[in-house]
């Protein structure tokens, strides 16, 4: 049996829009990260030399996912880290977490990213400037999760 589709690109003139799939929210979010990095490098070719542990918080789920993709851009630019795969990912809904600052509920994303800190070893394709709320769509159904996002190029 062939592997299920992780993501596909949809039509968008100026920027890049993708739809990521998953059996659950976490898997769809991990695939969204791979969709974004596929614009910049071939993640399947990235060797597993390094890892990054991240923990992000946001008051909205959309905000959290934008933050997650932004974090991957940050890791590239500041640490030269190229994401190869999302080893583990957990998204915690706000019921159980309270923000110390505001008291409002926060979403939390914890992930372990595996990749390589040697960008010079790979062919780089194009630059993603930012993850956006543009045409954001998240559908959580019994069959699985679909997540659409646009990244600014």
């Amino acid at each position: 049996m062939s592997e299920p589709m992780r993501f596909e690109f949809l039509s968008h003139t100026a920027d890049a829009k993708f739809r990521a799939y998953g059996r659950n929210l976490e898997e769809a979010v991990a695939n969204a990260a791979l969709a974004m990095v596929s614009l910049m490098w071939d993640y399947e070719k990235i060797e597993s030399r390094g890892k990054e542990t991240i923990e992000l918080r946001s008051r909205s789920l959309e905000g959290l996912l934008v933050k997650f993709l932004t974090e991957i851009l940050y890791l590239l630019e500041v640490k030269g880290f190229l994401l190869g795969r999302v080893e583990a990912i957990e998204i915690i809904q706000p019921i159980s977490v309270q923000s110390e600052e505001t008291g409002a509920g926060e979403y939390v994303l914890k992930a372990l990213l595996v990749g390589d800190n040697h960008p010079e070893r790979y062919e780089m394709i194009s630059e993603v400037k930012a993850a956006t709320y543009n045409e954001f769509r998240l559908e959580i159904g019994p069959e699985g999760v679909e997540l659409e996002m646009v990244v600014d190029m």
Binding site: A16, W41, R59, V66, E77, M124, K129, A130, T132, Y133
Partner: protein, 473 residues
């Protein structure tokens, strides 16, 4: 949508519903058809609903759909009642263009063309995630954010004469680093002095046609075949992160329920949040000015080494095309200060404006409009009429018409390289896939864009330039 044709190049969406002012689009029949295909017109209409907007929501001839505001959108807001919006500036703050003239003619450099391009490619860091050669300390970065290109000149990159021929003299005075996140600062540190990738490029060009010899001479363009260098890049990860941060902060502070589109998130200009974004944006503008100042310096160094001299390599101008600025304009017969958002639009001040460098004040400011990779670029001059027409703004480039995905399916980078070589254009790039994405067929016809600018008097034609050597990030 109710779109009225006013004349061959002017279209209007009359005020209706929540719109505070009408929207006006400068386009030919051909270009308006392209604008109809995506959300450009709806976005122009949405912008017209924002508080404090003055006169009209304007759309330049090269416009296409953007984040909230269209790319090619111009909107000016009252300082007291109006807003400032990160989506009205864009993610790449002070993405812009710098143009250098030379005393060389094409025939002077023919034999050394390959070497020149290869050396520039070596000197100017480019490509995705590529860091610069200078490792900055956080304190030096902060100084750069405040001083912009002035800092670079102090460090020996170029001369004060370059500053005289840069918008804002390369330094926005309202800049502050105090309201910029650690993340944004961290992204700014490794990337200073880098070109980046995507649509950013550096070209060795030659003058192909001069339309206005008098103005051309004032700008330093003397004859056909004269060699020029054009640099197109922005504020890199620092600017992108500032935009991302403030979109989130403003959403938390003000919410987006009252907006026609979430992406129009904004803050009152005079509010604490509005001022924090404005001053941080100014800092990113400065970073981009310093960035282009350094790259220009390296290009001159290469000419010096390869050609024996960089004599006459004077800067013609440096323009921002993603920015919000406080400028004086006349609305309903009254002069007032406004916050003018230009997102994918170039300022086009005409003769007499104080902001225009003294050497150009009699003619109007140079407007630099880069084409897509390997095609013509244009030099225009700002006009007095543009103040009334578009708060002194015109187009900024060609504007995409085809998605990157589609371009990747249709073109191959190596094939584009060979085609350019047949036309006598040398190409160096960090990625062939990246080249395919930027195929000129994926862009609008820049000739048509500048024709509309010229006919409407948003900016008048001065010269057409074509590439000899292209370096793509």
């Amino acid at each position: 949508m109710d779109l009225k044709k006013i004349n061959d190049f002017v279209w209007e969406i009359p005020k209706s519903g929540e719109m505070k002012v009408p929207a006006r689009i400068y386009a030919s029949e051909k270009l308006i058809e392209l604008a109809r295909r995506d959300q450009t017109l709806q976005q122009a209409r949405n912008v017209a609903c924002l508080p404090g907007i003055q006169r009209m929501s304007y759309v330049m001839p090269d416009a296409h759909q953007g984040y909230g505001f269209p790319i090619g959108g111009v909107a000016a807001f009252d300082l007291e009642e109006g807003i400032i919006s990160p989506g009205g500036v864009g993610y790449d703050i002070n993405c812009g263009v710098r143009l250098l003239r030379t005393d060389y003619k094409e025939s002077d450099i023919t034999a050394k063309r390959k070497e020149l391009l290869a050396e520039i490619f070596k000197e100017v860091p480019a490509g995705v995630g590529k860091g610069g050669v200078t490792k900055l300390s956080r304190n030096v970065l902060k100084e750069i954010l405040v001083k912009g290109a002035e800092w670079a000149v102090e460090q020996g990159y170029g001369s004060a004469e370059d500053l005289d021929r840069t918008e804002e003299r390369g330094r926005m005075k309202d800049a502050s680093w105090e309201f910029i996140s650690d993340r944004a600062l961290e992204r700014g540190i490794p990337q200073l002095g880098t070109l980046g990738a995507g649509n950013h490029f550096l070209e060795i060009q030659k003058v192909d046609e001069i339309y206005d010899a008098e103005v051309a001479r004032v700008f330093g363009l003397e004859e056909k075949g004269q060699v020029l260098v054009m640099i197109h890049c922005g504020s890199r990860g620092l600017g992108h992160q500032i935009a991302t941060d403030y979109i989130e902060l403003m959403e938390h502070k003000f919410g987006f329920r009252n907006l026609p589109d979430r992406e129009l998130i904004n803050a009152p200009f005079k509010s604490d949040m509005g001022q924090r974004y404005y001053r941080s944006m100014c800092a990113a503008v400065n970073y981009a000015f310093a960035n282009r100042q350094m790259i220009a310096h390296w290009v001159r160094d290469v000419f010096k080494r390869v050609m024996g001299s960089a004599k006459g390599m004077r800067q013609i101008y440096d323009v921002c095309h993603n920015v919000a600025k406080v400028e004086k304009h006349t609305v309903n017969g009254k002069e007032k200060l406004l916050c003018v958002h230009r997102k994918g639009a170039t300022r086009s001040f005409g003769p007499g404006r104080q902001e225009v460098p003294e050497v150009y004040r009699g003619a109007g400011q140079p407007v630099l409009i880069p084409g897509s990779m390997g095609t013509a670029s244009y030099i225009l001059v700002g006009t007095k009429e543009a103040e009334e027409l578009s708060f002194s703004s015109t187009a900024h480039g060609a504007g995409r018409v085809m998605s990157r995905n589609e371009a990747l399916r249709r073109f191959r980078g190596e094939q584009i390289r060979d085609e350019l070589a047949r036309k006598g254009v040398e190409l160096k790039a960090t990625s062939w896939k990246g080249v395919a994405e930027e195929a000129s067929a994926a862009y609008k016809d820049v000739d048509e864009v500048v024709r509309v600018s010229h006919e409407t008097r948003l900016g008048k034609l001065v010269a057409r330039v074509v590439p000899i050597g292209v370096m793509k990030g």
